[in-house]
Structures are given as C-alpha cells and as structure tokens.
C-alpha cells in the first residue's frame, strides 16, 4: 500500500520559503504570480492491503510525527 501525507503551514503562519520563491519568480518575469506557499509531502510504503486501516494508520503517523500541529495541517491520501 502506498499513502501520501501532504503537510502545509496553516494559512495564518508566515511562509518565508514561499515568499522567496514568489520574489524569484517575479524577478524571472512571472509578474502574474500572486503568491506562493510551499508544503511538503511524504510517500509512505506500508505492508498490508487494507485501505481503511492504512489510512487510519497513516493519519496517526501524520498527527504524531509528520506534521507539527502547532503550525501545520495535513491531509492523507491512500493511493
């Protein structure tokens, strides 16, 4: 089984990485870029083939380790 966890900074949290990328894109001539936010994702390979179980398990991993609930939110997707 494979699952993905997408982790993003909460909307209210400042994203310096996105800021710098947006500015670089402006410099490169992409003036139509309004905003960039950067996130990360984890592709997790799991044993077993129970989708629902995998989803729950990966959500648990996200909550404990992969995302920092203080500043980040996450979304789990089973492939």
């Amino acid at each position: 089984m494979r699952a993905r966890v997408y982790v993003t900074l909460k909307p209210s949290v400042f994203d310096p990485q996105g800021r710098v990328v947006a500015e670089a894109l402006h410099t490169l001539g992409y003036g139509d870029v309004r905003d960039v936010r950067q996130g990360k994702f984890f592709e997790v390979e799991l044993e077993g083939d129970d989708r629902a179980a995998a989803e729950a398990r990966v959500a648990e991993m996200a909550a404990t380790l992969l995302a920092n609930p203080v500043i980040e939110s996450y979304r789990v997707e089973v492939l």
């Binding site: 209210s12 949290v13 203080v70 500043i71």
Partner: protein, 748 residues
C-alpha cells in the same frame, strides 16, 4: 467599539488598578486600541514591573561602560575606539510551543538588538535548559532548539562560539533558551534607538506585518494553561534571509549620516518601537497605520500595532535625506516605507486612513508603567534542602564507577552533538573551538580579542539563590579569565517562576542581590539583560536560573589558552582550595539522586585574586592550559584537560579532604565542587615563577602531578582511585549525548 469591562481587562492582563491609572494618565477612558497599547507596554515582559526595583540595585557603571542598561544592548570600551556590544535574551515560552521556530526567532531577536546599535554581530552563545534526556519530550525539544539555533545563526553567518546546556527534570515542561549576541562597533558609530527632529520621516522596513504573535508579549508573561490556544498563530516563523538583508542594509544605512535612530520591533512590535523611540528622544510621533506593509488582508490597527511579526525595523531618517536611505534598502531588495513622522508633541498618535484612532502620551506608555514591590518570602523548605548529612549515607559506588558515570552524565558530557550543528568557523575570527574554552574571537585589524562565557547553575540557586547567583557570576568571569580575558562587562538573563508567588519573588530578589554583590566585587558592570518570569507549567516552577554572560578582554588575541593539555611532561598545578564540598554537586545528584546541601562557599576577594592571577599567567605565556573546576569536581576537570589533546594523559596525587565522614573522603576529594579553583599545566621551566606569582597574589597553589602517559590516573592519599586510558574516557564523554539522541532519531 466594544465596552471595556472586567473580562476585556483580564484578556489584556491589565489589573483594575492599572486600568484606573491608564484612565488617569489619559484623562479619559481608553479605546480598545489604546488599551492594547498599554497592555503590551505595561506587560511584565516590556515594563519589568515586578523586577525593576531589584534590577536598579545592580552595578551598571564603570570606566569602560559606553552604554549601560536602557538601550537595545550594552557596550563596553575595548580600546582603540572600539566597543564590545552585547546582550542576552530569552525565548523560553516560544521554544516550548515550537522548539525549532521558537529558538530560531530568539536568535533573530537578539541579533537585531545588536545591529540596531550600529554594531556588526560577530558571535553568538546560548544557554539552554531541557528536561531529562531520558524522556522523548526533552529529546524532541532539545533537538528542535539546537536545529533552530543553527538554522538561523548559520544562515546569517554569525558563528556560535560557545554556550552551556543542562538537562534536569525541573525544566521538563519549561525549557530555557537564552541567547547572547556579541557585536563590534566603533564608539562613534553607536546608534541609539531614539527619535528626534520634528518632521523627520519615520520608516518601516523588513518583513510585512501579519497577525502573528499578537498577545505574544503578554504570552511571555503568563503561565501556560490548556487554553493558551489557537485563535492566532502563537508561533512566529523565522526568516533568516530577511534578517540578513536587514542587517546588511541597516549597517550600510548607518554609515551614511542620514539616520537619526533605529530600533527593532521585538516584543510589543510597532507599539514598543514607536513609543520607546519617541520617549528616548523626548518627542512625539504620528503614524498612519494603514501604510504599514501587511501580509494579510483586513488587519485592524489593533492587530497591526500589536503584531510581533519578526524581522522588522523602525527607523527615523533626516528630512531631506530620504532618497539616500531608500536607495540603500532598495539595493538589498527591501522597501523602506514611510509611515509617519516625528512631532513636537509628547504623544504617539495613530491614524487609520487619516482618522485619529489612538492618542497617548508617550511617557505614559514607557515610563509610567506600574512598578511593583512584590512580597517576598523565604520558602519554608529552604532550610531543609540546605541540610546535608552524609553521616548515615554510604557512597553508592567505587570512585572509578562514579567517575565514569559523571563523564557520561549529559550535564558533564561533551556538547558536540549540539555545537557541531552550529557554524563556529564562519567569520574567520573564532580562535578557540567550541568545547575547549570560553568562546574567543579575535578582532581583525586590531590586536585585542574577546572571550565570552555564559554560565548558570539552577541547582545551586535552588539551594541558595543568593550564593548560587554569585557563583554564576564567578564562574562566567573565571571562564573568560582562563582564556586570558580580563572580565570587563556582564549581561544577565533572569529565568524564574511566577513573581506573584512570594517564594519566587524571594528567589528573584536574592539572586539579583547575589549578582550585584559578585559583580561589584569582581568589577564586572552589568550593561543589560533580560528578565523571563512565569517559567512554570501547571504551577511547578523551574529552578531559579540566572544566567550570566561575561565578556573578557584579551590584550592580545594570540595570547590565549584552552583547557587542553598541550604537551606531556608539564607540571599540573591547582589554584584554590579543595574543601570537598558536595552540596548541590553533580555527584550527589547523579549518583545519589540527591539535590541537597549548601552550594559551595564563595570568597569573592579570593575569587578576584585568582582571576587576576590566571589572566596575568596566560598573558605572560607561563601556562599552557587553564581550566575552571566546576561540575564533577577536580577529577572531571582533569579528565577534560586531557580530552582533545590527542591522548596526553595525566597522573596526579591528591591529599584527601578531611571535612567529610570517612566513607566520603575519596568522593569529596575527587568530585567536590569547591569554587574558585583552576587547573593549569605549566612547563617545568615556569613552575617556580608560577608558584611565586600565586604566593604573591595570595592564591593557594599546589603542584599535584604531571601530564603524560596515556592514562588519567588520580591517587588519593596514596591509593589509586581512578585510572582509565584517555581514549576510553574521552569516548565515553564525547558520545554520551549522541548515543542518547540516536535512539531518538526523529522529525526534522
């Protein structure tokens, strides 16, 4: 505008008495924005309302003091028209909530305080406290804090040259992250955070303002509880690249004489910067809040004024010189935005799209804040924790076992796991590698060098806050003395619990008294510092933990030594007296699980004589190494002198101290932590001269053995108590923290 009722006041942390005073100062009811301004400026964090009466007693003057407390940082003269500019700052609460960002933004804040003064930051140090390394939470916080400090300081290119780290369950729910930054400026270039010149433009530059950290200033002043929750992001994310741009641009602007004054927006953000700058310059300021660059839409003047977004500066330029200032910022891809001007009034007036939304007397915010002489009471348990009766106890282990346990204790073990994540070579000024001495930097273009050390011992202060604080001052200045630095100035970070509790306030008062007495005796003026109160979780306070930062001046940066033995066949000399004091020692804590007794006695005159002696010996090139004797006592100190030497061992013979019950003689001799001791290694040809100098200075000195061989061997009263190959001991000591962290490889 909503009504200001009891609930609103509570949310703002404003007492009814304080509210009455606000009304009196304004001559009317404040509106919500004005209440917000007062609440942050009168918070503990900004007004020092609980601590001020005590801080006033500290010695702050001296012939070298160029800038004492009151500005963004202190400064002391180091000759040739140069000044060392330095200050320490804490970021304890944010680092508990989000270790990486909390520590990173803490580093960012103190760096801004230094370059704001017109000084180029040249070094960072940190003092950290975490819970026991055996717990996952402490490891996670430790790991995040270390990464955060590195992530910020490394990027900007300021070397981290030293620090100290202590692990103790008392800090489990409330870690401490204190960061000291040292900068260098020419006296004439020191710039103050002051506004003046009616009509002069006020500029905002740096990161855009978001809703982050609103109530941050009040957060730092209130205990955690379950509900210190969501609403607004309590965590600020650091942007070290922005800070680097700001630093370079500001230092460049300062070289023009188009600048009047500048201040960073730290705690209480724009509110603090506008009111403090006007207050120092005895003028007023008009600001159009809507001109402040904003990161989010729909921000209210209240949010803009109270935001604590990072990496922002406020500056006042000379009218007519606007283009020059703007051009420098543009060079660095920053946009200085004119948001207001200096006025002849004595008020800060805020406008929003032209409408007056706040109108407050400047000094009311900065100088009229409440000052509390809070009740103090010596805790009932104080006397009992100071009782230490070794009589009924038996030593828990052989000296050899105790020695090995101490070397592997996270408090004593090498901190390389942490400082190998800090860039310490950038800047090409770092003379001593971290872990081998006080941090030492040279000064390019001058002969002088600077040695800096940060020290504190919460356990000592818990047992006796007065003496513990004195010991911290003594240790920090002794450390710089061992590097050949004459202590010339100090800064302090006072980390304590809830000052509304009389026992905590007593600890605070005692500690400040101790710092004052020690600084006076050692001639170390305090030029600034920081107070962090309410360090408790669920009613449990940390150890009272004053952290001292001391700066020492090396007449010649090349004349320095580290703790490391340089050659075999040198005489090993101990200065000072071993009184075998085990009270509050790491030995008792680690091996007997006992935090008990009185901390080691301190004779300040003897301490001063010792430090003066050591500085002169290092400067005279008479000693090859010098190391302060502290945690783990003489045995650990000797072992540390062999570490990093490439395996140069040591053989010493000690007389057992006779002040303790017989079963503890070995332990007290080896691991007792008597203060005012230094171990030096001396080539044979210099021994007589060194002993004569010690005698002349009235410092007890004793040749206890020689360097050489591959072992650490310590005999007490003719019997070998500790014997171990240097390599084995060093391995134990060097890897103790890494091994504990390995099992906890965790999230980035």
């Amino acid at each position: 505008m909503s009504v200001i009722d009891r609930k609103v006041l509570e949310q703002h942390g404003v007492t009814e008495g304080e509210y009455a005073r606000i009304q009196e100062l304004l001559g009317r009811e404040p509106n919500m924005l004005e209440l917000g301004l007062f609440s942050v400026m009168w918070s503990e964090h900004c007004s020092y309302k609980s601590s001020r009466v005590h801080l006033k007693t500290l010695p702050t003057t001296g012939p070298r003091v160029v800038q004492g407390p009151g500005e963004n940082a202190g400064a002391v003269d180091i000759g040739d028209g140069l000044a060392a500019v330095f200050k320490i700052e804490s970021h304890n609460h944010p680092s508990f909530i989000e270790p990486y960002q909390g520590a990173a933004t803490g580093v960012g804040g103190i760096i801004r305080d230094i370059f704001t003064m017109g000084a180029r930051p040249i070094a960072l140090l940190n003092a950290l406290r975490f819970g026991s390394l055996e717990t996952p939470l402490a490891r996670r916080i430790f790991s995040g804090v270390v990464a955060g400090i590195g992530g910020y300081g490394n990027s900007i290119g300021i070397p981290t040259i030293g620090g100290e780290i202590v692990f103790d369950p008392m800090y489990a729910g409330n870690p401490l992250v204190n960061v000291l930054c040292l900068g260098l400026a020419r006296h004439d270039d020191i710039i103050k955070g002051q506004a003046s010149g009616v009509g002069n433009p006020v500029y905002y530059v740096g990161a855009r303002t978001g809703r982050d950290g609103i109530h941050g200033a009040t957060m730092a002043s209130a205990e955690f509880d379950e509900s210190s929750a969501e609403k607004r992001p309590a965590v600020q994310v650091g942007d070290p690249f922005m800070e680097k741009l700001l630093m370079e641009a500001c230092l460049e602007v300062m070289k023009t004489d188009a600048l009047v004054g500048i201040q960073d927006m730290g705690a209480a953000g724009l509110t603090c910067a506008t009111s403090e700058m006007s207050s120092r310059g005895n003028c007023g300021m008009d600001v159009e809040v809507s001109l402040v660059p904003q990161r989010e839409t729909g921000m209210t003047p209240y949010e803009i004024m109270l935001s604590e977004s990072q990496e922002r500066m406020l500056l006042v330029a000379k009218a007519g010189r606007e283009r020059e200032v703007e051009a420098v910022f543009e060079k660095w891809d920053l946009h200085a935005v004119r948001i207001g001007h200096v006025t002849a009034s004595d008020r800060v007036r805020l406008f929003h799209h032209g409408a007056l939304v706040a109108d407050v007397p400047t000094k009311a915010l900065t100088d009229e804040g409440p000052v509390y002489r809070r009740p103090m009471a010596r805790p009932a348990w104080q006397t009992s924790v100071q009782q230490l009766d070794l009589g009924p106890l038996a030593p828990p282990a052989s000296s050899q076992t105790a020695f090995e346990a101490l070397l592997a204790s996270p408090i004593i073990a090498s901190k390389r796991w942490a400082f190998n994540q800090f860039d310490h070579s950038v800047g090409t000024n770092t003379i001593a590698q971290p872990g081998t001495a006080a941090g030492v930097v040279r000064i390019k273009g001058a002969t002088q060098g600077l040695a800096v050390s940060v020290d504190g011992n919460g356990r000592h202060c818990y047992l006796d806050p007065y003496r513990g604080a004195m010991l911290a001052v003594a240790e920090a200045s002794r450390n710089v003395a061992c590097a050949g630095g004459e202590p010339i100035g100090g800064t302090n970070n006072l980390n304590f619990g809830n000052p509304e509790r009389p026992e905590i306030m007593w600890q605070f008062g005692e500690a400040v008294r101790g710092i004052g007495d020690a600084c006076r005796a050692l001639d170390v003026p305090i030029t600034g510092g920081n107070v962090s109160l309410y360090n408790e979780t669920e009613g449990r306070a940390i150890y009272p933990t004053p952290v001292l930062g001391v700066v020492g001046l090396l007449a010649d940066a090349a004349q320095t030594v580290t703790r490391v033995f340089q050659a075999a066949g040198a005489a090993v000399v101990v200065f000072g007296e071993n009184r075998g004091e085990l009270g509050g020692s790491e030995y008792l804590a680690r091996l007997l699980d006992l935090v008990q007794g009185e901390p080691p006695a301190l004779d300040l005159a003897a301490e001063r004589a010792l430090q003066t002696l050591v500085v002169s010996l290092v400067r005279g090139g008479l000693v090859q190494s010098a190391h302060d004797c502290s945690d783990g006592g003489l045995a650990v100190t000797l072992a540390e002198c062999t570490f990093g030497s490439g395996g140069i061992g040591v053989e010493v013979a000690l007389d057992g101290v006779k002040t303790v019950p017989a079963p503890f003689v070995e332990a007290a001799t080896l691991f007792g932590e008597s203060a005012s001791r230094v171990v030096v290694s001396v080539p044979d040809g210099h021994v007589a001269q060194v002993l004569t100098a010690a005698a002349a200075a009235g410092v007890p000195a004793q040749v206890i053995g020689r360097t050489g061989g591959g072992d650490i061997r310590i005999d007490v009263d003719g019997a070998t108590t500790v014997r171990m190959p240097v390599a084995a001991a060093e391995e134990l000591w060097a890897t103790a923290i890494g091994r504990r962290m390995q099992s906890a490889a965790g999230a980035a």
